[in-house]
């Protein structure tokens, strides 16, 4: 009961902050979507970090390390700590400058202007929205699952807050926050949320260590000494090809619409300076304790039915109930911080790239555009909530879709690089890359559902000399030659499409090139 009360108080605070932001807001889209491009450096860092960190950073990381061991940190966290700050440094700063100079509020608005195109921008919008929606739905599902897990009775395991209510609470609080406060409300809430979940890991580790029957060293050396569990403290079961492939996945970060839109919101470009330096340290602060606790969970708890719940189970077993509530609020923060940005990003994209672009803004004006955006936020959250309820048992499908989305957004990064750094790039190159990415994602989904692990999808040659180009790996995921992940051919193919089709087609007009590039 106590953890539930703590979390409900926390959620009330979040809703209150949203209402405070409402009072500060102005009725125009620049203010609603980007907080008037006025976010200061510390708020910018905390908010952009919250935008990118989902519940996966806490629950998924510990669950995956429970299954696969310490290699998860190198696979997902340290690769992100290298790639994401670099993309913010090279791409985020340029996006900020272009937004500030030309008033762009979305990536698509920039692409349309940069490549003098209209419907091609709409195609890029459609792919981005299609890849973002499953992510938003799974955030609500994650919220329901977390609240049910935290509120479960230690004896009966029956949740005090059932899944349906948990989803509804998260959806309502996020909607209130975004509906009332827009970007300003979302950023203000992120401050509290990021601080909470940055502290989460270290506090959880310290508290759990006090109650454990044995020391950390005893558990870890026990795992290392046993041949059956040794893989958890090494990477001997992790294919090096997958480990290398994963370094391409964080390229997706800057292509997620909510991350790109955040880049437009900074007051000064210097806000990026602190962000890119602090970002790897923040990743370390969250991921290191969570990955360690996941492995420790295997040693301390043994086999459990739901590995993604290992951290919750460790908290329930080894932390005092009031602290479990605060730590639970930290987990919910990670869920809601990114969910709020996803909802706001979808609303921004629909309002600016569809509604305004196709005449809505001229017809209805600035004030009504904000009303449209708010209406859209309510509608999209209600739909996401209903889907989260209706397809509760098919959560795995959305998890797969999100995995695809990461590869898809990573594969769209060559389009952004071409737009920012290559004068000769054209709209046809961008279209070719977008269609390639979309087709590859559909093909992957079809192959994965129609085949079983081990099936070869395409090979060169036959017999012993056959070279498997695409096949399903033992997990049932489509894999590329020699075991690389599909993100590798996707990024390469997308880059080739942009380059090839840009060379084959006429460049944008000279005035447009002069507008975006110094002589």
């Amino acid at each position: 009961m106590i953890p539930v009360v703590v979390i409900l108080v926390y959620l009330a605070v979040i809703a209150f902050i949203g209402s405070m932001a409402w009072r500060r807001g102005k009725e125009n889209t620049e203010d609603f979507f980007l907080a008037n491009r006025s976010i200061g450096p510390i708020f910018f860092f905390l908010s952009i970090f919250a935008t990118n960190m989902t519940a996966f950073a806490i629950l998924g990381s510990s669950g995956q390390s429970y299954r696969q061991g310490i290699g998860i940190y190198g696979l997902m966290a340290s690769s992100s700590s290298f790639v994401i700050p670099l993309t913010l440094f090279f791409i985020g700063t340029r996006l900020w400058a272009i937004g500030k100079k030309f008033g762009h509020q979305t990536q698509v608005s920039f692409f349309r202007d940069r490549w003098e195109c209209n419907h091609i921008g709409t195609v890029i919008f459609a792919l981005s929205a299609a890849m973002l929606v499953p992510y938003m739905i799974i955030s609500i599902m994650g919220g329901g699952t977390v609240l049910a897990g935290i509120s479960a009775s230690p004896e009966t395991h029956e949740p005090l807050i059932p899944y349906e209510w948990g989803c509804a609470i998260v959806a309502v609080v996020v909607t209130l926050n975004v509906f009332l406060g827009g970007m300003r409300g979302t950023v203000w809430v992120n401050i509290l949320q990021t601080i909470l979940f940055l502290c989460f890991g270290a506090v959880a580790l310290a508290v759990i260590s006090q109650k454990l029957p044995k020391s950390f060293a005893d558990y870890m050396s026990g795992l290392a000494a046993d041949e059956k569990t040794r893989f958890l403290v090494t990477r001997e079961k992790m294919p090096p090809q997958a480990f290398w492939s994963y370094t391409l996945i964080p390229l997706s970060s800057i292509m997620f619409p909510h991350m790109a839109i955040m880049c437009f919101s900074a007051r000064r470009v210097s806000a990026f300076k602190q962000t890119v330096v602090l970002y790897p340290i923040a990743i370390l602060a969250i991921w290191l304790p969570c990955v360690f606790l996941g492995v420790l969970g295997f040693a301390a708890l043994g086999r459990i039915p739901d590995p993604d719940g290992v951290l919750l189970r460790m908290l329930q077993t080894y932390a005092p109930v009031w602290l479990a509530g605060i730590l639970g609020a930290g987990i919910i923060s990670a869920v809601m911080g990114s969910d709020a940005h996803q909802v706001l990003a979808l609303s921004t994209m629909f309002t600016k790239d569809v509604f305004a672009h196709y005449g809505g803004h001229e017809k209805f004006g600035e004030r009504r555009s904000v009303h449209f955006a708010r209406g859209f936020i309510v509608v999209v959250t209600v739909i996401a909530y209903l889907v989260a309820l209706a397809l509760k048992e098919k959560q795995g499908i959305f998890e797969i879709a999100v995995r695809y989305a990461f590869s898809g957004f990573a594969a769209m990064s060559p389009v952004m690089v071409a737009a920012l750094f290559w004068r000769r790039s054209t709209k046809w190159g961008a279209l070719a890359a977008t269609l390639f990415v979309a087709a590859f994602l559909v093909w992957t989904a079809l192959m994965q559902t129609g085949h079983k692990a081990g099936d070869v999808l395409w090979q060169l040659g036959g017999g012993k000399d056959a070279v498997k180009i695409f096949f399903l790996n033992p997990r049932g995921d489509v894999a590329f030659w020699n075991g690389f992940m599909t993100v590798v051919p996707m990024v390469l193919g997308s880059a080739i499409c942009v380059a090839l089709f840009s060379w084959l087609t006429p460049p944008p007009s000279q005035p447009t090139i002069a507008k975006y590039f110094d002589a």
Binding site: I70, K101, F102, R230, R235, V269, V276, Y358
Partner: protein, 79 residues
Amino acid sequence: MKKLLLFLLVVLVYAAHQDVWNWRKAGPMLFGFLPVGLAYHAAYSIAAALMMAILVKCAWPKGLDKHETASPEPPQSHS
């Protein structure tokens, strides 16, 4: 020369991510409990932060700050 050195720094840090020499090793354990593969990548995150600090100091994109006071021009429609 400065650009080349910075480029090499980024390549070096990227290459250091692929620590094949730690693949099958559990020890030595840092502080007695942190497996070497995990300790290495924790240190890698700190190295990535240092790399970014050097890039910010030595390779910050020039000319972007002039937009800080700019009032945005509305984007043109291509419909």
